[in-house]
Amino acid sequence: MAAGFKTVEPLEYYRRFLKENCRPDGRELGEFRTTTVNIGSISTADGSALVKLGNTTVICGVKAEFAAPPTDAPDKGYVVPNVDLPPLCSSRFRSGPPGEEAQVASQFIADVIENSQIIQKEDLCISPGKLAWVLYCDLICLDYDGNILDACTFALLAALKNVQLPEVTINEETALAEVNLKKKSYLNIRTHPVATSFAVFDDTLLIVDPTGEEEHLATGTLTIVMDEEGKLCCLHKPGGSGLTGAKLQDCMSRAVTTVYFKIHCILEKCMLMCHQHFMKNFKSMA
């Protein structure tokens, strides 16, 4: 009976739950889905992370290569993000060149990297004007169940924290680079931006971490990216119903608590376990 009502009148079905201040999957309006992070699983990548927000799964792999720095900024490297939404994550995507949603997500991630200064591009330069690192960050969505931007940002952050770059020296005589693959060091991550997404229902009600169905029924979405110092990095509101200033402030304060939760409770623990595992393997090899 409930399933029939849900198919015929999905919005009414949702409204009944929202009136009781809860959602069909049992969550409250401000509650996140279970977040799982797995770091360093892809050994061919220089850094990798898999993030699961409920059912939404995104994997990020970072590969580092050499390139000549851009001519207008000879002391900077590159960070090139790319979000891929393949047909296996949801039946609404077709194979082929990136569709609109993938392009929007890629541009959003590029904006987050640029605005939050997660990595100083100057850190990626090896020899000004001649050689710099390029970090290709490829994010692939494996399962699309809403809130893709949060998952992508978190996966990117976790993967960048996992990246280890080999040591490079420029030989003065031959002017060629010499890479020592045995000596690797972590990147210098300056800030930790975390995204929080909201869906707007009926122009008034805000719910956190929407699932795929909720995004479909919502009248608007909003994504706020904050770093751990409470500074706003990015605000993404692609059309949809309008919000008052007070509501926006409320969202921002909620975003701050999310940052604390995600960074300290989840990411730090995960990095610690990964580091311990790495040290254990290193000791057993030596």
Partner: protein, 272 residues
């Protein structure tokens, strides 16, 4: 790439650091030619796909999802004599559309997203190997979409993709005659060339020839065969195929168990 305005632009060209690395990689260690790496198979893990499977063998990680059956594009085609068992005539049979994708970070060298010819060739190989196993006559004018994503290439990627695709089809409840199990082989060069079962990435790179066999274990029929390289004598290839088929039979029980577990999980989830 300069012309692609749909992706974020990076530098015009870039080289991997391995080109400038001082030390060479070690040669792969000698090992028993018939050893199979331990396999982890799990079906039914994606929520948005009708059927899905994840397979991990050594360093190779493949994820496969199946969606459909959906209305086939391409218009009506004429009738013909009906097949056995109440199936649709040959011209109205369903289609299997396979897509093989390699993640950009899957190999040693980054491969920019538009994959190119190799991915299409492997997708075609997947389709040819899966078609004998699926009862396409039961899905007239419909198409089933199979997408395989290679997350990490640790050797015998096509074989792993084949196995994962067959598991995903079974998980989706598509009618099949049998599962398809894939196995990779490579010919180690040297004074006494031997065929190695389930090669790692290092062994594949140094191989003189490579072969992938796909077997339907219960029917004991070969569903697909793809090989290339300088193999030598015909007997050598026959020996390799026999070795591959044995490997496929050994893998079968693991896959059966993963499907049973997935069915149990689904049953437990549907109950309350």
């Amino acid at each position: 790439m300069p012309g692609d305005h749909r992706r974020i632009r990076g530098p015009e060209e870039s080289q991997p650091p391995q080109l400038y690395a001082a030390d060479e990689e070690e040669a792969p260690a000698a090992r028993d030619p018939t050893r199979l790496r331990p396999v982890y198979a799990r079906a039914g893990l994606l929520s948005q796909a009708k059927g899905s499977a994840y397979l991990e063998a050594g360093g190779t990680k493949v994820l496969c999802a199946v969606s459909g059956p959906r209305q086939a594009e391409g218009g009506e085609r004429g009738g013909g004599p009906a097949g056995s068992g109440g199936e649709a005539p040959a011209a109205l049979r369903g289609r299997l559309l396979c897509d093989f994708r390699r993640a950009p970070f899957a190999g040693r060298r980054r491969r920019a997203p538009p994959g190119g010819g190799e991915e299409r060739e492997l997708a075609l190989a997947l389709q040819e190997a899966l078609e004998p196993a699926v009862r396409l006559g039961r899905y007239p004018r419909a198409q089933l979409e199979v997408s395989a994503l290679l997350l990490e290439d640790g050797g015998s990627a096509l074989a792993a993709a084949l196995t994962a695709a067959a598991l995903a089809l079974a998980d989706a409840g598509v009618e099949m005659y049998d599962l398809v199990v894939g196995c990779g082989l490579s010919l180690a060069p040297g004074p006494a060339p031997t065929w190695l079962l389930d090669p790692t990435r290092l062994e594949e790179e140094r191989a003189a020839a490579g072969l992938t066999v796909a077997l339907m274990p219960v029917l004991n029929q070969v569903a697909g065969l793809l090989g290339s390289g300088e193999g030598g004598l015909i007997e050598s290839w026959a020996e390799a195929v026999r070795l591959g088929l044995e490997g496929c039979q050994r893998l079968y029980p693991v896959l059966q168990q993963s499907l049973v577990r997935a069915a149990r999980r689904r049953g437990a989830a549907a109950q309350p």
